[in-house]
Homo-oligomer: 351 residues x 2
DNA sequence: TTGTAAGCGTTATCAG
DNA sequence: CTGATAACGCTTACAA
């Protein structure tokens, strides 16, 4: 049964032979914390270096339980927030010797295919950022014993762990700020109307405004597709026609849409922020802090969120069920840019 | 030799039993284009669905030659260009049933560790974007028979395939544009002084300017670290002190530095572009086209570059050596923003 | 077209 | 602490 050798890759057997030990000993030499005498280890490592040997992680994945691969499914790399998140995941996982298998999902599509692929590769965990997930797949991952974690989104399924920013609380904070600044006519730019994130951010905002509202506040909501272009389109549509009237403030549920708003309103109407309109966003992406924007926003603590996620992952590994979902909502931090100001100074173009 | 079963994952043996066929037949049922009778295949697939079976890619990777995993090593996700590139790689590879194992490298560090990790996982190929690579590692990948491709950078090692934009040509084009606009005093903001990319872009620019130069052009070069912050720092340092004099034009060898320049000069000196200073960048990242910038630049054809890269990969798979490196330099396209104008209209603050 | 069985290169168990 | 050896779940020659 001759079989063509698929590559010239050195195996632990060859190292073992050269070092004069068993293959098992070679394996131990490359396993941190394994029981092995120092001299043997040195001998093995020397032989390995001489032969240019490095362990075959695929073989080790097959033989052991774990691949050291984490699947990260990113919904939408057009939104810098997800880029920064992916970046953080790669960096932190790399630091702890794990690897990231990245998937992207086109807007609006379910991430079922990606999850299935991840399952095939026996990944240690699946992290889903912002994309819907079918119940079938969730149960398959459970069957496979592979943890799924949601990042920056929640789910109706309470058994699914999720790490996210306190979207409701952040929305509230922005609502207060906007109300206190004197805005009484507010336009909200929603993201994905299906998504929990947008919903919570809007709900928090509305609650804060209503709590405060001795004076009535008129709120209008439109959809901005969670994207720069979507926001520009929505704004263009909303303020088309001659002599549009503008609100006192705009609340975009994420920064990238806020930037889209600003660009569109500057370009078409030469509006000034905050003099003509106030605007706030949510996320704290870097673009929002570029000099022409200096956007007032809630900064999501991406690093803390990522670390929390990895912590949860570790916890799941240890004990099956002691994981409490409560602690997985992390507060964002208000960031004062220069797109909100006291209403006295605001000269809106409203008749 | 009892051994604890590591998971409840269904194997092809169980499917085989249920379907009343051999395990090999199950394997064939899941292999596209395999020789198998339709009725058997249907039977197998039905059994698989019933048991929630899906193939184990790790096992298949071990048994076969290929993992269907491509390692993509990204130097610097702070630069949106690399983000867009990574995005394109993930998208296109996903479309052809491959997977992306992502690595990032901290600024200035070699990507040797990442390459070694990739080798351990027996990836089908390694794509390196912008990070230095030691010769040892290159020879190791050769030994392992794993192709390495450079993306957006070249190397002294002529055996290394590389796909990149025509940096020299793009630099030339920008040089012409700047000269023709009337600039005679130019500040160049370099990126990584070691890197081929920055070097070629500068060389092309200088050549074009010298070719044209009936009038002498004064060129000064400073380093911007290829980053937004680096550019701001460099500009701040360069124009510190009272009454600085400004050049006619700035050539930042990438867009993200150009944006940094603009922000810094706007914030500190309230300069207008192009009225006070002209500026051009290179890359064509989305940020450069935001309304406050509208940066004149050379747009790198990321998609074409990525497709070319994957094409090369496929070619390497087929025939070992027929790959010609010539065709791997792809021209960029000049994009006219609004940061260059005829010098008559330029009123610099130079005494 | 199908089944049999020998790898693929590790890890993990167990006996020494 | 070390070595022998059985998995791990698949692919693939080869025989039927």
């Amino acid at each position: 049964m001759a079989r063509k050798r698929q590559s010239q890759r050195v195996t632990s057997y060859e190292v073992a032979k050269l070092a004069g030990v068993s293959q098992a000993t070679v394996s131990r030499a490359f396993t941190a914390g394994a029981q092995i005498a120092k001299d043997k280890k040195d001998r093995v490592l020397a032989a390995a270096k001489q032969l240019n040997y490095y362990p075959n992680s695929i073989a080790s994945s097959l033989a052991s339980a774990s691949t050291n691969i984490i699947a990260v499914i990113v919904g939408n790399l057009d939104n810098p927030f997800y880029v920064e998140s992916l970046h953080a995941f790669i960096t932190h996982l790399q630091a702890s010797g794990k690897h990231v298998l990245s998937f992207t999902i086109s807007q609006g599509k379910a991430c079922d295919d990606a999850v299935l692929e991840a399952l095939k590769y026996n990944v240690d965990a699946i992290i889903v950022t912002s994309a819907p997930l079918s119940n079938d797949l969730v149960s398959m991952t459970k069957g496979a014993g592979i943890p799924i974690l949601l990042f920056n989104r929640s789910s109706d399924d309470p058994t699914l762990l999720s790490v996210r920013c306190d979207n409701f609380g952040g929305g509230q904070e922005l609502g207060k700020v906007i109300y206190d600044a004197g805005a009484r006519k507010v336009l909200i730019l929603r993201g994905d109307p299906q998504g929990s994130t947008s919903r919570d951010r809007v709900a928090g905002f509305r609650l804060a405004v209503q709590d405060k509202a001795i004076e009535a506040v008129r709120i209008e909501e439109i959809d901005g597709n969670s994207s720069y272009d979507g926001a520009r389109d929505a704004i263009r549509e909303r303020f088309k026609g001659p002599n549009p009237t503008f609100p006192d403030a705009i609340y975009a549920v994420n920064d990238i849409m806020a930037i889209g708003c600003i660009d569109e309103l500057r370009e078409r109407f030469d509006l000034k922020f905050p003099e003509d309109i106030m605007i706030v966003g949510f996320d704290g992406i870097r673009e929002g802090q570029l000099q022409p924007y200096k956007l007032t926003t809630i900064r999501q603590p991406i690093n803390a969120m990522v670390l929390k996620t990895l912590e949860l992952l570790a916890a799941i590994g240890d004990e099956e069920d002691t994981v409490k979902a409560d602690s997985c909502v992390i507060p964002g931090r208000f960031f004062e840019g220069s797109t909100v100001t006291q209403m006295e100074q605001v000269g809106t173009k409203i008749p």
